[in-house]
């Protein structure tokens, strides 16, 4: 059957695994202007931005003849757990004949869960996919490694654009690998490519470091957040996000406890301010803010979709936290004007730079 899924997180992982089970995979289109327009037009006006982006993605996939859409469910309190149900109703109303497979917790309705799993695995043995899974995991590790690395090189590149060119090439090379051996070989090549980029050096105490925190979708997807990391890099700041694919997979998918430690530490730091898990990534957001402060970062940019429920609570807490570290909240939706965000980011970076200079002078 022709199957598709939301453009979120490790898409390449879903693709490789589903192909292993003999499905015809329709790769969702990377969200662009058309996706946003389609999504906004057909979504409830006050649904959050990720909902609208997914809506657009689904419509585009349906246009390409998708029969089944697989997605994750949830049980609140964040709205994301109910996305699938509303998407299903809207698509039905629009006249698309598409089946939804929404995975909820196995503990709620185990019969339904195993039935759905059987459909996805196409009656193949699920263990057959393990080598694919291991390869994809290594691939994610590599992609994350490079994502983190380029944000430390890009601020200091001599020729503007050289890192972006290299990043494009790296992406192409990595997506052509098929197994672990090829991946290891190509990782070497890519690392060398990045090593050869010419950079200028600035003293350690003048380097600006900014952490990016917030709701996972807008933090991770550059097409949704207006490529904020590149914007900051171009202004000469190093960046680090609170969310990376690998950490997400480690925490949510892998069964082992040891890998979860990083995320648990962050949540612990956050629980001092938000006592309960209130859904979404509010605790992680606040925890990461504290974490960036402890790691001596110069500032934090907090991203959230407009009217995001959990992130509004974490935004309320920035009142207290911004006494420790400068925090700026950007709320994103289909209306985000590029120039507006650019101006705010530039002003924020100027402020951080002045603050740093003042500090080093008094020290």
């Amino acid at each position: 059957m022709k199957i598709s899924f939301p453009y979120m997180g490790p898409v390449i992982l879903y693709q490789k695994i589903l192909e292993k089970f003999g499905h015809e995979v329709v790769m969702p289109i990377r969200p662009n202007k058309t996706t946003f327009d389609l999504g906004v037009k057909n979504s409830p006006e006050y649904a959050c931005f990720p909902f609208k982006v997914l809506m657009g993605t689904y419509i585009q996939s349906c246009e390409r003849g998708v029969e089944v859409i697989g997605t994750s469910g949830g049980h609140g309190p964040c709205r994301a757990g109910y996305y699938g149900e509303i998407h299903k109703r809207i698509l039905k109303q629009m006249g698309y004949d598409v089946e939804f497979i929404i995975f909820d917790s196995v503990f709620r309705d185990s019969k339904k869960f195993w039935g759905q799993l059987k459909r996805i695995t196409n009656h193949h043995n699920i263990f057959q996919a393990i080598p694919t899974f291991i390869y994809c995991y290594k691939l994610l590790q590599t992609i994350d490694h490079f994502e983190k690395r380029i944000t430390r090189i890009r601020p200091y590149e001599l020729v503007k654009g050289s890192v972006d060119d290299a990043w494009d090439k790296i992406n192409r090379i990595l997506s052509q690998t098929n197994n672990k051996e090829e991946l290891f070989r190509d990782t070497e090549i890519c690392n060398k490519m990045l090593d050869s980029i010419e950079t200028f050096t600035i003293p350690e105490e003048e380097k600006l470091r900014i952490g990016i925190v917030g709701e996972i979708y807008v933090v991770m997807e550059p097409s949704v957040n207006g490529n904020i990391e590149k914007k900051l890099n171009d202004l000469g700041c190093e960046t680090l996000r609170s969310q990376y694919l690998l950490e997400w997979v480690d925490y949510h998918i892998l069964p082992t406890k040891s890998k979860k430690q990083h995320e648990l530490d962050i949540i612990k730091k956050g629980s001092e301010y938000i006592k309960l898990n209130i859904g979404g990534h509010a605790q992680q957001t606040v925890g990461s803010m504290v974490d960036f402060y402890e790691r001596n970062y110069d500032g934090v940019i907090h991203l959230m979709p407009f009217s995001c429920l959990p992130e509004l609570v974490s935004q309320s807490i920035t009142n207290t936290l911004s006494k420790k570290i400068p925090i700026m909240t950007l709320s994103l939706d289909e209306q985000s004007g590029e120039a507006n965000n650019q101006t705010r980011i530039e002003a924020f970076v100027d402020l951080l730079r002045n603050r740093k200079m003042k500090k080093s002078r008094t020290a």
């Binding site: 309190p77 149900e85 309960l276 859904g279 429920l309 959990p310 309320s316």
Partner: protein, 314 residues
């Protein structure tokens, strides 16, 4: 006698007989903030993140006005869950944290407890453990107070339900389902007193708390998946009960600007009422008042319903 302040906002509207009786029985003086006014709203806006929904801003306004008086505590419970598999909107679950970090001088007077029970009747002593410790009250005394509070509250619920039966019996006038959370519908400032306006027009209306719990959950059980927010489920179930049993002439959904659960709930109402051919109106409210548009829209809606009911189409 020590004073406990209760903000006249959010779930106050559903649980006031409960908490007032509880604290009075425990020997405290209960101070309830005055009904929402322009000043309270402005105060709330001052201490809230701009994107928050109006009910939460108003809540912050009430808390801040209470802090200006001589109360010893301000009670801000953290509502977590009232039913298995159901939770509250994240803003309710983070309400004490949100208020603590938004409103100045809150730390000393904050009184909170997690409300995590399995039924709507929240008189479960387990969940008040932390409250008993903070106030230093014996278990026996607390249990007695809970009992009294429970009685008051069930009486008020019975009254709502009988009001609901009454309005369903009035067959000849226009009947509207007025769906929205208690703090949106009954806050006179926020809803611009829509209940009074409807009564003045001679309209009979039913709100969600006038409908039996079993009817509500019978409807939500039919969905592929229930919503996971307690009061959203109630509003949805009540609305669907009215739609599917053909009890109403029209449906009005009152929702606050930026309400997350309502963005989905409203869509379901829109689709379902469309299929049942029942006229549907959404009224979106926020802290900006402007009564005239509300009157115009409601009047137009009611006129349409009247024409439809009398069978005269123009």
């Amino acid at each position: 006698m020590k004073k406990i302040g209760i903000p006249h906002a959010l779930l106050y509207w559903y649980y006031v007989p409960f908490f007032r009786t509880l604290f009075e029985e425990l020997g405290y003086e209960v101070v309830i903030s005055k009904e929402t006014t322009k000043n309270i709203v402005n105060e709330g806006i001052k201490y809230s993140v701009p994107e928050l929904c109006a009910p939460i801003k108003i809540h912050n306004g009430h808390v801040s006005t209470l802090l200006d008086t001589d109360v010893d505590y301000v009670f801000i419970p953290r509502f977590v869950s009232l039913r298995k598999y159901e939770v509250f909107c994240p803003k309710f679950m983070g309400l004490p944290d949100l208020s603590l970090h938004s409103i100045p001088n809150m730390e000393k007077k904050m009184l909170t407890c997690d409300i995590q029970v399995r039924k709507e009747n929240i008189a479960d002593i387990q969940t008040y453990q932390s409250l008993m410790e903070t106030l230093g009250i014996e278990k026996k005394q607390f249990r007695r107070a809970l009992k009294a509070a429970e009685q008051e509250w069930t009486a008020s619920r019975r009254e709502s339900l009988s009001r609901g039966r009454e309005s369903l019996n009035k067959k000849d006038s226009i009947h509207i389902g007025l769906m929205g959370y208690v703090y949106n519908v009954y806050d006179k400032y926020l809803s611009m007193d829509i209940t009074k306006k409807l009564e003045d027009m001679g309209i009979v209306f039913t709100t969600f708390e006038m409908i039996e719990e079993k009817d509500i959950y019978a409807e939500t059980a039919k969905l592929d998946k229930e919503l996971f927010w307690t009061f959203s489920n109630k509003v949805l179930g009540a609305g669907l009960h009215l739609i599917h049993n053909n009890l109403i002439d029209g449906l009005i959904h009152i929702t606050a600007f930026g309400c997350g659960p309502d963005s989905f709930l409203g869509k379901i109402f829109e689709i379902e009422s469309g299929e049942a051919e029942i006229p549907f109106l959404t009224i979106r409210i926020d802290e900006h008042s402007g009564e005239n548009h509300l009157i115009t829209r409601v009047e137009a809606f009611v006129d349409m319903l009247k024409r439809k009911k009398s069978g005269v189409f123009i």
